[in-house]
């Protein structure tokens, strides 16, 4: 394994900027790693070799000319294949979108990383239209977990998490509607950030559920996650949903002390069914942060139910034209749910959106008492690929919907969450959610960096 391939984004950027090595050499190492591993792991649906070489040369030229190549100088990255990449078709994990024309320009977040000096190396596998938690895609195959290729990478951003975990790229982009960044981050043992709803631009990415869609980065360290997040921030007039809040860079204060933090550990819904391993990881983080006690998030189960209804209805309605004319071309794993969602009556959808406001207000009150809340990211480590059911709390339940048990109630109200990875010797990785009040991503990243320095969380290459 080449050191350049598994180097952190921060170190790559420093090395490229000061001329220690060239962006083109870093790219070569990343492409070699992808070539060596992707046949087994199936993270990539497209590798953009030519544009990547052009990107890397542009960075090297800037360095040689004494110009600023950007904070991500020469850092390879890849994006879930629902993000537009100029010149290639945005398939969104589907067969149907393969018939669309190539994208004319990059999605805003892809463009931001490239403008910061990042080198785009390709598009990554996902559940069809982001409707799933396992990345077992009928058209493109399953993405395999780098820690155990017999197991799921999680989803729907499974390719994004696995590519980072395997050392193919130090940074990737994914989406999270109900847990699709946090679940694969946990199962693949990497860091993932689901920012506050409305923080980052969604322009140029295929939507799934407009009310709940978030986009964000994956990385193998808190510092790299912050570096990517900072490059992604900023207003974008192309996204009407983006909130009018100023950018709040996380990197500058990443190593600041976290003294006096009021930490609550979510109880009730967020512990029920969790395996001993998931709870041990939670306890390790809680202890390191000096958590003061357990706290209930009221009506969490109903929040998950409401997220289910909104997801089904909006997703079904979005795809109704294709469901009418070519239902047979959908992945069997999503088709039934999209069809059912299209048939949902209006009353539960409207009630869910009203309940959402009530639930948000309740959780805001909770954050008057706490600076951060903790919960497991998933109830268990990665299930086997193809596994239909699993035991949670002594009850046999279907795998796919239940991987998002603890993530759905939180994305439902758009809270920022950093998923931090823990892997004990001889075990598969699991994740813990660091949950903050709206717009406090920088606080969460500072806490993630503290946990990393304390040796509690880590994401070594698998």
């Amino acid at each position: 394994m080449n050191d350049l391939a598994t180097m952190s984004a921060a170190k790559i950027a420093v090395g490229v900027r000061n001329g220690t090595f060239r962006a083109e050499a870093v790219l070569g190492a990343a492409l070699a790693q992808i070539h060596a591993l992707d046949g087994m792991l199936n993270c990539f649906t497209t590798v953009t070799v030519e544009t990547a070489i052009a990107d890397a040369r542009r960075v090297d030229t800037a360095v040689q000319a004494g110009r600023d190549p950007g904070p991500l100088a020469g850092v390879p990255f890849a994006a879930k294949n629902m993000f537009d990449i100029a010149g290639i078709v945005t398939i969104a994990g589907s067969r149907i979108h393969r018939d669309h024309p190539p994208a004319r320009r990059d999605a805003t977040l892809v463009a931001r990383l490239r403008e910061a000096g990042g080198v785009l190396v390709g598009a990554l596998n996902m559940d069809e239209y982001a409707y799933g938690f396992t990345t077992e895609n009928a058209h493109d195959g399953a993405t395999r977990n780098p820690h155990d290729p017999e197991r799921s990478a999680g989803g729907s951003s499974g390719g994004s998490a696995a590519a980072v975990a395997a050392g193919m790229v130090p940074i990737s982009l994914g989406s999270d509607t109900n847990g699709s960044i946090r679940v694969p981050a946990a199962l693949c043992g990497v860091f993932g950030l689901k920012p506050t709803y409305g923080r980052l631009s969604r322009a140029g990415a295929v939507p799934f559920v407009g009310s709940l869609d978030h986009f964000g980065p994956f990385a193998r360290s808190a510092a790299d996650l912050a570096l990517a997040y900072d490059a992604l921030q900023g207003r974008d007039e192309l996204d009407p949903v983006q909130a009018n809040v100023p950018a709040a860079p996380a990197s500058p204060g990443l190593d600041a002390p976290i003294d006096g933090l009021r930490v609550g550990v979510l109880a009730g819904w967020f512990r029920a069914g969790a395996t001993d391993q998931a709870l041990a990881a939670l306890d390790a983080v809680a202890t390191a942060l000096g958590a003061t006690g357990r706290v209930e998030l009221p009506e969490a189960e109903r929040a998950r139910a409401a997220a289910f209804c909104i997801t089904a209805a909006e997703g079904g309605a979005l795809h109704l034209p294709d469901l009418r004319t070519r239902a047979g071309d959908f992945d069997p794993a999503t088709r039934s749910r999209f069809l059912a969602g299209a048939l949902l009556p209006a009353a539960p959808l409207i009630a869910a959106q009203r309940f959402r406001r009530w639930f948000r207000d309740e959780v805001r009150r909770l954050f008057a008492r706490f600076d951060i809340l903790l919960a497991p990211a998933t109830p268990c480590p990665a299930p086997l690929i193809g596994q239909a059911t699993m035991m949670l709390g002594g009850v046999e339940v279907p795998v796919r919907p239940n991987l998002g048990l603890y993530t759905q109630p939180l994305s439902f109200i758009g809270l920022p969450v950093v998923a931090v990875p823990i892997r004990r010797l001889g075990e598969l990785p699991v994740g813990v959610q660091l949950i903050g009040p709206a717009w406090e991503e920088a606080r969460l990243l500072r806490i993630a960096a503290f946990l990393e320095r304390a040796g509690v969380v880590a994401a070594p290459v698998a």
Binding site: S211, E299, E301, R302, R304, A305, A306, F308, C309, A312, L320, L323, R324, A327, G328, P332, R335, S336, R337, L339, A340, G341, A342, L343, L344, P345, A347, P348, I350, A351, A352, Q353, R354, F355, R356, R357, W358, R360, P401
Partner: protein
């Protein structure tokens, strides 16, 4: 609702929005609807104040 009642609902609701559910897809759709039913009930059973606005707010 049992599967037969849900299948009847699926047929009628699909017809109302110009959607044809193929025979080979019907069982899957009914199963997905069955999965949604407990979630729908949880949401509809929640007593909410009449003056509580929906979360999304349109700005003209």
């Amino acid at each position: 609702m049992d599967d037969a009642a849900l299948a009847a609902y699926v047929d009628a609701a699909a017809a109302a929005i110009g959607l044809t559910i193929r025979d080979e897809h019907l069982d899957g759709v009914v199963a997905a609807m069955q999965g949604l039913m407990p979630q729908i009930r949880l949401v509809l059973d929640c007593p909410l104040p009449e003056d509580l606005d929906s979360a999304p707010v349109f700005t003209p």
